[in-house]
C-alpha cells in the first residue's frame, strides 16, 4: 500500500515525448505522452476496451490511439473515436494530474481535486541560477522505505562509501534529529575531520575540514541534503564544497523503486568536467547502496524489520520518518472509509 494523495516524481521531463512511455508508479501502470503543444498527459495504462496497455499505442495529434483496436483518447481521457462504431458517449480512460517543475514531471495518484501544486516539496535548487545541476535515475529492487532509511542514517557512508563520500566522522559524530510537522530533520556537524575522497577530488582540500549534513525528509519519499564543507576552522565559503543532494524515491511496486536524484552545486558551476566527474562518482556511490539495499530487501521478504534487536542513536531519523508515513497512511485509509 502506498499513499495516494501525494505528488510523486514520475519522470525527468525530457523522458516524456511524442512516443508513449509506460511506467508503473506506486503500483499503478501509467502511460505518459506529450501533446503537440508539449503538454504532458498521463493515463491509466489500460485501454478500457480490452485492457491492452495504451503504451503500445500511437500518439496522433493530441490523442493517444490504442495499438490493438484503435480506440482513441483525448488529453482529458475522453474516448474520441472507436473505429466502426458510433461516437462513443461517456467512455474514458482514467487521467492523472501532472505538474512539471524543476526538471521533473510529477504525478498525483489520489483524488484529482486535491492535486494542489503548492503541495510539491521544494527542489528549487535544481533549476536555480548559481547552481550547476547533475543528476540521474536508478532502479532499485528494494522497497522505497529502505531507501529512506538509508538516506536518513548517513553513518553508513563511513562503511559503504569509503571510496567516495564516506569518512570516519560521519559514523562517529552524533546527529541531531528533530521533527517539524510531517518533516524530519537530521543534522550532523563534523568539525575538524578528514575530508572524504570525493571532497578532495572535487575541491582539493589538503587538510581537515568542517563538514555539515543537514537532511530534510518530506513525505512520502523526498529527502534533500544540504552539504557544506570548508577548511577546518575557517568557515571560508570561497573554498567551500556546497551542494544539495536531492532524492525522489518513487515506489514502483512493493519491492522496487525508481530513484531520481539530483546534485546541484554552488562551486565551479561552469566546469563541465566537474559535472561528468560528479555524475560518475555519485552514480557509483548509489550503486553501492543498491547492492546493499537489494540484499536487505531479500532478507526482509523473509523476516520483518520489526525483528531487529539492535537499535542505534542514528536510527532516530529513519524511525521518525516511518512513523510519519504510517500515520499519514492511517489518515488516508480513514478518509477513504468515511
Amino acid at each position: 500500500m502506498f499513499l495516494k494523495n501525494q505528488w510523486y516524481v514520475a519522470a525527468w521531463a525530457h523522458e516524456i515525448g511524442r512516443a508513449p512511455l509506460g511506467r508503473r508508479i506506486a503500483g499503478e501502470p501509467i502511460v505518459f505522452y506529450r501533446t503537440e503543444k508539449g503538454q504532458p498527459v498521463a493515463f491509466e495504462d489500460r485501454c478500457p476496451h480490452r485492457l491492452a496497455p495504451l503504451s503500445l499505442g500511437t500518439v496522433i495529434g493530441d490523442n493517444l490511439r490504442c495499438g490493438y483496436h484503435g480506440a482513441s483518447y483525448g488529453p482529458d481521457g475522453t474516448c474520441t473515436h472507436v473505429p466502426g462504431n458510433p461516437p462513443p458517449k461517456g467512455a474514458r480512460v482514467r487521467r492523472y494530474p501532472l505538474v512539471e517543475k524543476w526538471g521533473w514531471t510529477w504525478i498525483w495518484l489520489g483524488v484529482p481535486e486535491r492535486s494542489d501544486e503548492a503541495l510539491l516539496p521544494d527542489f528549487h535548487w535544481q533549476s536555480e541560477p548559481g547552481w550547476a545541476p547533475v543528476g540521474g535515475t536508478l532502479h532499485f529492487e528494494a522497497h522505497y522505505q529502505l531507501l529512506i532509511d538509508n538516506l536518513l542514517d548517513l553513518s553508513h557512508e563511513a562503511f559503504l562509501h569509503a571510496n567516495t563520500i564516506g569518512n570516519a566522522a560521519v559514523a562517529d559524530v552524533p546527529a541531531q534529529t528533530t521533527s517539524e510537522g510531517n518533516h524530519v530533520r537530521v543534522t550532523r556537524l563534523m568539525q575538524d575531520c578528514a575530508p572524504p575522497p570525493l571532497f578532495v577530488k572535487a575541491r582539493g582540500f589538503t587538510s581537515n575540514i568542517d563538514r555539515l549534513q543537514d537532511l530534510l525528509f518530506t513525505p512520502p519519499c523526498y529527502i534533500t541534503i544540504t552539504v557544506r564543507a570548508t577548511p577546518a576552522g575557517t568557515n571560508d565559503l570561497s573554498q567551500a564544497l556546497q551542494w544539495q543532494v536531492l532524492n525522489a524515491l518513487t515506489p514502483e511496486t512493493d519491492t522496487t523503486t525508481h530513484y531520481f536524484w539530483g546534485l546541484p552545486r554552488q562551486f565551479l558551476i561552469e566546469d563541465r568536467e566537474m559535472d561528468a566527474m560528479l555524475e560518475a562518482a555519485i552514480t557509483r556511490t548509489f550503486i553501492e547502496d543498491q547492492a546493499m539495499l537489494e540484499a536487505q530487501q531479500v532478507v526482509t521478504q523473509e523476516r520483518s524489520l520489526d525483528e531487529r534487536s539492535l537499535l542505534t542513536l542514528a536510527d532516530a531519523g529513519p524511525t521518525r520518518a516511518r512513523g510519519v508515513i504510517a500515520r499519514l497512511m492511517r489518515e488516508e485509509n480513514a478518509e477513504v472509509r468515511q
Copy 2:
C-alpha cells in the same frame, strides 16, 4: 480449468517420432512417441514408479522405457517390465487417445470412451488437392481465450497488422455475428476497399478490391477464416486471393498457449517462393499479435477483463465465443459431479 472432453491439437504429426517428446497440453504433462509401425502414442509424462518424466526415457521397439530405473510401458500404457522385479501385474501409465488428421496429431484429455473422431473440427483444406498449405507453430505467453478474442475481432488488423494484412476497411466496416449451436460465425464483407500490403504482394492487385472474411469459431479453441479478395466489382475468381487461415489455439497452461496455424491457399499452388513469402509474412503478423497479447496477459493477471468499460460492436464475436466456452465448462463440471 480447461474443457477435457474435447480434441486438442497436440503437435504437427511430423514432430512425433521415435524420440520421446514431452509437451504440456491443457495443464497436463504428456509424453508422445511413435511405435515401430508409426502409430503415435501419448502417455501421462510421469512414471508411476517415482514420477520421473517419461519424456527423459528411451523408446525400445514399441515400448517406452523410463530413463531413471528402467520401468517399461507398452503402447497401451501397460507396464511390461521392471528390472530386478517379477513381472508387474496391473501397473500402468495413463494413456490418451490420439488421432492423426490433416497433418496434426490430436489428443483427447477426457473420458477415453467419448473420443469420437467424428467430433474433430473441420480442417480438411490442409490436406486437400488444389490447396497449397503453409503453416507453423508459435508459443504465446497468454491465455488461449485472449487468442480467441483476438481472432474473432479482426478489426485489430487495421492497427496491429498495417504492414501485412491490415487495411482501414477491416476496422471501419461492421461485421455480422451469428451463432449456430456451439459455433460462432463472424462475417465481414468490405467492398471497394484498398488492398492490404500482403494482398498486393501476393496477388498483384493494382486497384481497390472486394474483401471477404468469414470466421467460424468451434469450441474449445478453433477458428477457421475463409478469406477471398477480388478486384472491386469483378467477382473474378481467376484473379482472386483465396485462402483459409486455420487456427488451433491449444492451451498449455493457464497463462500460455501452443498456437498451431495453417494457411492453405487456392492460387499459385505450385509456387514455392510464394510459400516461403507467405510463411514469413504470416509469422511476422502473428508475432505482432504475440507482443500485444502477452502484454494484455500481464494486465489481466492484475485486473479482470470484466472491469473493461468500453464495449464495441466488434466485441460480439469474442463475447459469444466466451459464452459458449463458459456454458460447455458448466456442463462438463455438472457431469463430473453426477
Copy 3:
C-alpha cells in the same frame, strides 16, 4: 521443514577464509569466516541492526563488521562496537556451533548444548592414509530427499549412468536391505558381471568381475557406499577397484540441495592423472543425476510422491530412509512442543 539437532556439512574447510562467505543451510542464511588463528565462525547472516546480510561485511581481526552501518561482532556473536554509540550491552548475533573434520566444516543448527562431535557420521576415509581422495560440490535444484532416494536405489545406474558406473547387473541383481537403529543398509553383490565402462578405464578389467555395493544411510542426509570389484571368482584384492563414495546431501531450501561428495580410493593412490580422470567421470555421472532429479523435482511440485502406483523391490532402501527421517522429525517436533 528440516531436522535441526543434526550436523550438516556446510562447506569444504578450504572454502571458509578471511572473506565472509554467505550460504543457506537447511533454510537458514548463515555467514562463515575464519579468525586470525584460523578458527571458523558461523553467524546468522542478518545484522540485528537492520537485517542487512553480514556476508556483505568485512572481517577485521577476529571480528565481523557489518558493511552497512559498521556494527561489529566477536567470534562468540557478541556485538563489540557500534560506531557513534556507547558500548552495546547484550546485543548479539546468533552463533552456530561448527566442527572441522575430514576436510569438511560441519554446522549444528539446533540446540547448541547438544552439538556433540561424537554425533558426526563417519567419513574417516577422506583423510585416512592409504586412501587417495578426490571430491567436489554440486548444487541441485531438487529436495535433498530425492537425492537420498536416488543413492539408496542404485539400480538407476544401469539406465542413467550406462557410460560410467552402470552395468546391467546393478538393475537385475536384487539387493538386501536392513535397518540398524537409525541407519539403513543396502547391499548388492553382483557376481560374474560385465564391468561398467569407468571400472574398465580405472582398473583395466578385461573380463567379468564380482562387484559389491554396500550402502549405509545415516540421517539426516549421509550415504557412504563401499565399492569393491575384483576379477570374477578371484577375490584378488591386488587387482581390485576399491573406493568409498561419500555423499553429504545438505538441504539448502525446500527445493535445493548442496551436494558435497568425496571418492577416496585404495588403488593407484599416487596417480594424479587417475585423480583427474575420476573427478571428471564422477562429476559427469552426478550431473546425469542432476538432470533427472531436477526434472523429478518439477513434477513433485505438482504431484505428491504418495501418488506413485508402481512400487519395486529396490524401493526398500529409500522407503526405510524416508521412514527414519519422518520419525526423527516427529520426535524433534514433539520435543520442541514440550
